[in-house]
């Protein structure tokens, strides 16, 4: 897994690529999100467009990142779900929890 960070209009975008699985260290997402919160940034957009694979442990990381950010008064949203991730979030009813976008500009605008 690789995570790159950039900021647009006060929204921090994490471009995640590779696999978010137990074996790949799915905790990296949570850690990156924690680091952002520690540095005072809590408007967070996870770009999952280049995520090739996710397992239940990876889904768990998305959820716990979400609750951590929400509890700190921030917002965590998702960008560019692959078909597989969308299906997994639908089955687990997490599409009702996460705000999801396919357009980056629109996603960024939604924070303001």
């Amino acid at each position: 897994m690789k995570i790159e960070t950039r900021t647009i209009d006060g929204v921090t975008i994490l471009d995640v690529s590779g696999k978010i699985t137990l074996a790949e260290g799915s905790v990296d997402v949570k850690k990156s999100v924690r680091d952002l919160l520690d540095s005072g940034r809590n408007q967070i957009l996870l770009n999952l467009g280049d995520v090739k694979y996710i397992d239940s442990s990876g889904i768990g990381e998305l959820v716990s990142s979400f609750t951590t950010v929400t509890n700190k008064g921030g917002k965590l949203k998702l960008l560019n779900l692959t078909l597989k991730i969308r299906e997994l979030l639908a089955i687990t009813k997490l599409l009702t929890v996460f705000e999801c976008f396919d357009d980056e500009a629109e996603a960024v605008k939604s924070y303001s």
Binding site: A23, S56, K93, L94
Partner: protein, 140 residues
């Protein structure tokens, strides 16, 4: 009902998550040989990965000296995957429903639910024995 076995392989690994990619490669390759389409192959692979993850972490408590046995069997109308660990087994009635609003935001507890979503039949040998058997295709 006894069905003819078309293909069958067995894999034994030890309880370390570093083996999960091998497990998935075997699942994908077996599904491919059995003629599954990409979509089915993907979800079977995820289900097998989840079941083996559980066998390693929960069944064998991550003890890398303890084996996990995995078998893939292709019958005419279904695929049967058996995952055997050396733990206590699962009491299904104790599993919380991850869709329950009370559990929806829990970090864990979705593995077995996903396996059940993607495979047509899931059996657990309970209360002890520690295997689970998942099959895709026609029911028994």
């Amino acid at each position: 009902m006894n069905q003819e076995i078309i293909s069958e392989i067995h894999l034994t690994l030890y309880s370390d998550i570093k083996y999960l990619d091998i497990v998935q490669a075997v699942s994908d390759s077996f599904s491919n040989m059995a003629g599954f389409n990409d979509e089915d192959l993907y979800w079977v692979g995820l289900s097998v990965r989840e079941a083996v993850t559980n066998a390693i972490l929960h069944g064998n408590k991550n003890d890398s000296t303890v084996p996990v046995d995995l078998s893939f069997r292709q019958e005419e109308h279904r695929l049967v995957v058996t995952v055997t660990d050396h733990g206590e087994g699962i009491d299904e009635s104790m599993l919380p429903d991850p869709l329950d609003p009370e559990h929806l935001l829990k970090p864990g507890g979705r593995g077995i639910f996903l396996v059940k979503s993607f495979m047509d039949n899931v059996f657990f040998n309970t209360p002890s024995g520690g295997w689970n058997r998942i099959s895709d295709g026609e029911t028994y």
